[in-house]
Amino acid sequence: MPSETEVRTALQAVHDPEIPVLSIVDLGVVSAIRISGADVEVDILPTFSGCPALGFMTEAVRRKVAELPGVEAVKVRLCLDPAWDTSRISARGRLALQSFGIAPPGDAPACPYCGSRETRLASSFGPTRCRSVYYCDSCRNPFEQMKAL
């Protein structure tokens, strides 16, 4: 029978398909883990409700947990309680976002390329559901920020 820590550690290797440097544990979507004998149940909190990566993440979680020794059945449940919000992203997750060129959520984001605070919102709606587009007046690059939710 696996421990909750083992399951959580295994899930560190499951990444957001649209932000491959970000683990779903650091994204804060893994909520409760229940283990009963060889059965494991994982609660996943959906991020943005229209996120097309959700189905992928659910399936990846199921497969990853099923690989653990002593696990026979895995159930992944989508759960709205507690509601996911961007404050659930860990410090490590925020750093991962930044290294990927996406400013972490928050007011007046610093440019992930040059660090300048001279940035302005170009559009609230970016290339994926969870990102806005900013422009850096200092290094003159457009960049994305994960929207605060």
Binding site: F48, S49, G50, C51, P52, L80, D81, A83, D85, A122, S123, S124, F125, G126, P127, R129, V133, K147, L149
Partner: protein, 258 residues
């Protein structure tokens, strides 16, 4: 948490009807929003409308899941398999997109209505309704801001822009009462504590808020207590066309996953 688990059959049916009306509003407007993709005046707006469409349709999907929990068919069958007479959306949302001014004005007016409606849902006794409302509100505030920013920008765009906005507001006003028209069963939901107040009581706050939003630009919102009755299944041929397009893939293969 499954919705309405401890409600009797009559109340479940009434709640199903109410949730269906909310879901259909989001579904139909979400489809209209998606029609702007590749046609909006700016590429940023192609993206914005496509994103907003994704949100609205996802909200519809969540609520259609609740309708299923309350004893209805599954979300896909509900979204793609119904005739227009079984749709419960307000007629305002099925109107064709028209010009840019109409699309933005309709969205802003609807987003204000939705804001009031979901705010009221936060006071529901049904935990699952509260959770869905919380989730939607976090995303909807971006829609509200989008509409506001654009209406403000257009209102400063000279005489023609202002005329088009006023014309759009008049057309939206003519269809607005449908959003909050009193419905026979709403009292039962309030008595059961499922809704904190009858949705129709939001009508006056809604009109006042829209007017407060557009008044500073010299625009007026003057809806009457009349107009179409979409909640009762009375729709226009425009909805038939929309449903035909939206359900095309599903009808060709109901088990397809995409």
């Amino acid at each position: 948490m499954e919705i309405g688990r401890d409600l009797d059959g009559g109340l479940r049916a009434v709640l199903r009807e109410y949730v269906l009306s909310l879901a259909d509003d989001e579904l139909v407007l979400g489809h209209r929003d998606s029609e702007w993709c590749a046609f909006a005046p700016l590429i940023e707006e192609d993206v914005a409308f496509a994103s907003i469409a994704q949100d609205e349709i996802a909200h519809a999907q969540m609520m259609l899941g609740m309708v299923q929990d309350l004893g209805g068919p599954g979300p896909d069958a509900l979204a793609f398999g119904r005739a227009s007479s079984a749709m419960r959306n307000a007629v305002l949302l099925e109107r064709p997109n028209g010009d840019w001014a109409y699309s933005l004005t309709r969205h802003l007016v609807y987003d204000i209505a939705d804001d009031l409606r979901t705010e009221a849902l936060l006071r529901s006794r049904e935990r699952s309704l509260v959770l869905v409302a919380e989730r939607m509100r976090r995303e909807e505030r971006y829609h509200l801001e989008h509409g506001r920013t654009w209406v403000r920008a257009l209102a400063h765009g000279g005489r023609e822009a202002l005329l088009r906005l006023q014309h759009a507001l008049d057309r939206v006003a003519a269809d607005s009462f449908d959003l909050f028209r009193p419905i026979a069963w709403e009292g039962a939901l309030v008595r059961a504590g499922i809704l904190a107040e009858e949705p129709s009581r939001l009508w006056e706050p809604f009109v006042a808020r829209v007017q407060a939003e557009v008044g500073p630009f010299g625009l007026t919102f003057t809806p009457g207590r009349s107009g179409p009755h979409g909640r009762a299944g009375e729709h226009t041929p425009d909805l038939d066309g929309l449903l035909r397009t939206m359900g095309e893939v599903w009808r060709s293969d109901p088990h397809a996953i995409w």
